[in-house]
Structure formats: structure tokens, C-alpha cells
């Protein structure tokens, strides 16, 4: 079971004039790259016959069906589209998504939830961890290697100091990091086969989840414009200028 997020892929991010967020209209959305890696890992586990079924899950408006289809074309068996649209989608954050995943995991009796470590539009890096906490399941985050050993999962994690290897019991949550694998292309024959696979529509209310947000965005600003620098002729000038600016 896993969750490909739809994330923004704009060539250039622009803040909305009312400063409540970034412009999303007409911006290309596609599967979050870390989630692509998660899908790939799940499909690989199925190919090794270590898992029986891979279910692709995504929360959002109608568009997310395309993302689920891509996951199906990569090898997932079926999809679940949790419908969240309009205002609810704008305020949908990691906590609500985690609640949805936790509810689904119980309903589907999933043994493993694998998702990208973070979405590249908001960089939250919270959903995997929160989902594990809500389910009281162990978690292996920032995974760069995942191996099934009997009923345990050996996860090599990328951490600041290097690599950490942990063993966690199933059922568990794993979040995928960059070096876990290289996602396959969906081949054209698989895209055609994916059309026959089922995507089921579900509403958060059906899962008993309230998606209202407890967060209020006060404002969104662009990062400060880069100030132009000053060229100096000599090292002496440089030192003088740094002293003037109070830096040394």
C-alpha cells in the first residue's frame, strides 16, 4: 500500500497576489519524485514475490487519477482515489493525509505503507512519520535500502552522519529517499494494461476522517531579492568594506 502525491512542477514558482499561497492554476502537476521511488520499490517487492498486492493511493481532486494510473502502469495492482477537492484540497496537509492513510491501512489490512520521504512542493517530510504514529507502527524513514527478513524489515536509512541500519517489525511505514532505486518508465504496453486495473473512489468522510485544517496560513512571501554585490579592486578594499558593513 502506498501513496503517490501529486505535486507542483512549475517552471517558476509565483506567489499569489493575495499572499495566501503560491499560484497553482495551470501549473503542471505530476507524481512526486520520491513517491515514484516508493512505487518502484513496492513493485520490485511484488516482483520478488515478497508482497502479494500493491495498492496505489492518492488524495486529491480528479487530477490525481492520472497519477494513480501512472502507478498502475508501473505495476501496482489497483488504486484508491480519496476524493478531496476545492477548499479542502487547498488546506489539506500532512496531518489530515496521515489520518486518511491510517484509516485506509486498517480497512485494507495493509502490512506495509511506503511513500516518498517528502513532497517536493511543500517539503514537509511529516506524513510518513505521522501515519506511523497514528497507527502505532514502527517506521523506517529516509530509506535507501529495504530488505525483507522473515517478518522483519531491514532498513538502511540516510541520516546526517551517514547510514543507519535498523530492523523493524511488520506492519510498518517506510519513506523512500533518493537512492533507494531508479523508477522504471511506464512502458506503452503497461499503460494500456493499466486501463483495465480498477481505481476505487472513496471520500474522507467514509473513512471517518475530518479533513478540516487546524492551521491558518497568515502569509506567503517570496524569498528576499538577491542584492547585487560590489566589486573591489584589492584585498585591502575588501577588508575595509567588510569592516564598514560591520561584518568583521
Amino acid at each position: 500500500c502506498f501513496a503517490p502525491f501529486l505535486c507542483l512542477r512549475p517552471p517558476q514558482i509565483r506567489v499569489k497576489p493575495d499572499r495566501t499561497g503560491v499560484v497553482t492554476d495551470g501549473v503542471k502537476h505530476s507524481m512526486n519524485p520520491f513517491c515514484e521511488i516508493a512505487v518502484e520499490e513496492a513493485v520490485k517487492l511484488k516482483e520478488k514475490k515478497l508482497v502479494k498486492e500493491v495498492v496505489a493511493v492518492s488524495c486529491g481532486p480528479q487530477q490525481v487519477q492520472e497519477t494513480i494510473r501512472t502507478a498502475l502502469a508501473m505495476g501496482a495492482d489497483r488504486g484508491i482515489h480519496v476524493e478531496v477537492s476545492g477548499k479542502d484540497y487547498e488546506t489539506l496537509g500532512p496531518l489530515q493525509v496521515s489520518k486518511i492513510f491510517a484509516a485506509l491501512a486498517k480497512k485494507e489490512q495493509a502490512d506495509l505503507i511506503i511513500l516518498g520521504k517528502q513532497a517536493i512542493d511543500d517539503d514537509c517530510n511529516q506524513t510518513g512519520q505521522m501515519t506511523a504514529a497514528l497507527l502505532d507502527w514502527p517506521q523506517g524513514t529516509f530509506a535507501s535500502e529495504v530488505t525483507l527478513e522473515a517478518d522483519k524489515l531491514k532498513v538502511v536509512r540516510e541520516i546526517d552522519g551517514g547510514l543507519e541500519t535498523i530492523k523493524i517489525k511488520l506492519p510498518a511505514v517506510v519513506t523512500a529517499d533518493l537512492r533507494l532505486n531508479t523508477p522504471r518508465y511506464a512502458t506503452l504496453p503497461n499503460i494500456m494494461k493499466a486501463k483495465k486495473k480498477k481505481i476505487v473512489n472513496v471520500k474522507p468522510a467514509d473513512l471517518g476522517v475530518d479533513v478540516s485544517s487546524r492551521l491558518e496560513v497568515l502569509k506567503v512571501d517570496e524569498p528576499p531579492q538577491r542584492q547585487s554585490g560590489v566589486k573591489v579592486e584589492t584585498v585591502h578594499d575588501l577588508v575595509e568594506k567588510l569592516k564598514e558593513a560591520g561584518r568583521i
Partner: protein, 391 residues
Amino acid sequence: CSLCFQKNQELTDQQKEFQEVARKFAREEIVPAAPSYDKSGEYPFPLIKRAWELGLMNGHIPEDCGGMGLGIFDACLITEELAFGCTGVQTAIEANSLGQMPVIIAGNDAQKKKYLGRMTEEPLMCAYCVTEPGAGSDVAGIKTRAVKKGDEYVVNGQKMWITNGGKANWYFLLARTDPDPKCSASKAFTGFIVEADTPGVQPGRKELNMGQRCSDTRGITFEDVRIPKENVLIGEGAGFKIAMGAFDKTRPPVAAGATGLAQRALEEATKYALERKTFGKFIAEHQAVSFLLAEMAMKVELARMAYQRAAWEVDQGRRNTYYASIAKAYAGDIANQCATDAVQIFGGNGFNSEYPVEKLMRDAKIYQIYEGTAQIQRLIISREHLGKFKQ
């Protein structure tokens, strides 16, 4: 009055997904590798193999032969994306479609299963063997002879400019079976499928061309080549119609390829124009340059619409000769214009091999020549147009 073009303007989800795969493959894998293949002229087999694995090749092969039975429209979408990456690579791939088309439209079940089936089992190439040193546009002027001897035909002759000539597993061959010079073109020629390893088939050296240099183009000599009668398509004398009929389905993808090249020229030129400064501003802000870009954009959009129309018409089961010729003629011409304009926008850098646009100019030229020259297309279009007018 003529039918209004009613194609739904939106691509289907599946078409968008196909296009995405082709686009990703072209931009991530073909684009970086293309310059070195252009320099070395080496056949891009690794890229072709990858395209085959992804299902981007052989799209027209019917489902009962292991293919996907894609329409021409879908094939064109893929072709444009691959051509964006490199038209040399794309031509090597497209030559398969051209070689296969006579078998798809005229082959019997046994021939289809045998020769199309094997293309879906491994990444094999095939070729369309019609042109000769002395006859290109004038197909009826070909001199390669096929003489019936018992249960075989014995073929002697010389073919030239055969794409994939040195890499093909089998060829579609057009040869003259009726020696009577008064016999009409529609009865004098026969189409054959020839296994490339048949004794007497001698591919010549790889030709060094101006552009699309990694594509394998050769002369082929046929010396007493024996072809079993089972490999005749339809029957003796049916060849000319088959050879020409293939073009209605292959010209739209060739037009799509030219459009892909033009699109690449436009994108490279636009990127450069937004980086390069002169007289205090980005060159894109000078009207001389922005107008060049505008005209390139006009041409690309119209070429795309033209090939889509031609492809859609034939997918609807209608005769599309008029539209296919228009698309091919126009796309070939604008590909050359856009490539030249791109070099112009790059200025001195454009003339240099470190920048990507001089290759586009060299690659574009052949689009006005192969698959029916720009002049032949105009002959066809005028004939179709006058024919409609007289009715």
C-alpha cells in the same frame, strides 16, 4: 463542401501518457547521447533497444502479432517527441514502420505472423527497399528484376539510400516482374519480403551523409537472390499499389518527425534568446529576434496541426493522400526554415559544433527529400486539388 475537422481537440488520457513516456525518454536519454552519435556516426542501437523495451517502436503492428495496434495519430505523437531528441535516432526507428507497412496493409496472416511477430519478440530492424541509384521519385522507373523460376523468384538489381540497409533482419523489396516496357506501372511490379541473410543480398558501405548521421543508409546489391513465392505480397503485379499505399500511413509520422525537429529548434533558440544579451538587453527583447521566434512558433503549430489532421483522417478509414502530402511537404519545409533561423538566433555560436543547432540544420535537409521529395508532394497535392475541383 468539405467535411469540417471534428477531432476532439484534447488528447485522451492514454495518448497523454504515451506522449509523456516518449517525451521523458527523448529528453533524458536521446538528447544527451545524440551529439556523440552524430560525430561518430555509430548506429544508436542502445537507444533503439531502450525504445523497443518501452514499447515506443513498432506501434503499428497488429495486436494478434504481438503489437499494440496503435493508430497513426498515436504513432505520430510518439514520433514527434523522439524526433525532438534526435532525428537520426528517430529515422532509424521510423524506417521500421515504413518497412513493416506493406506487410501490415497487404500481408496474409502467415506473412504477418512470421515477419511482424518476430519484431515484437526481439528488437529487430527492417527496411523499405525501393529506391535505386537511377530511380527515386520515379518509382515506376526501377530496374531491379524478379524472374519467376519454379517456386521461386530470382532477383537481380541495385537499390540505394536504404535506411537500416545494413541492420535490417528483412526487407520489403519492390522489383519489376513484367519485362514488357508497355506494361502499366500498376501491373508491372511485385512486392516481396526478403530475409536479409538470403545468399546474394549484399549491403554496401555505410554512406556518410550531411545529417541524421547515426542512421544507417546503404546501397544494396541483389545478385541472383532467390525468394520463395510464399514471400510475395498479395500476388504478382500488385507491388506498385502496395508500395504507394504504405506512404499514406507513413507520411504523417515523417511530418511529425520534421515537426519535432522544428520544435527543438524553437526551444533551443528561445532558451538562448533569453540568456544572451546585446545592446543592453536580452536578444529576445529585440523585435528582430522575437519576430523570428514568432514565425518559428507559427510554423511549428501549423505543421503539428497538419500532421494531426492527416493522421486522424487515415485513422478514420478515409483516404488521406491530400492531407498526408500537405503535412509532409509543409513540415519538411518549415523544419529547414526553423533550423536555419535557430542558427541565426545563436549567431556565431550557432555555426559552431559545440552548440546544438547546426546539427538541426544538417538533419533537417533530408525531410525535403526522403519519403517523397518536396516537389513530388506538390505534384500529388496539385493533382488531388485539381481532381476535387473538377468533380
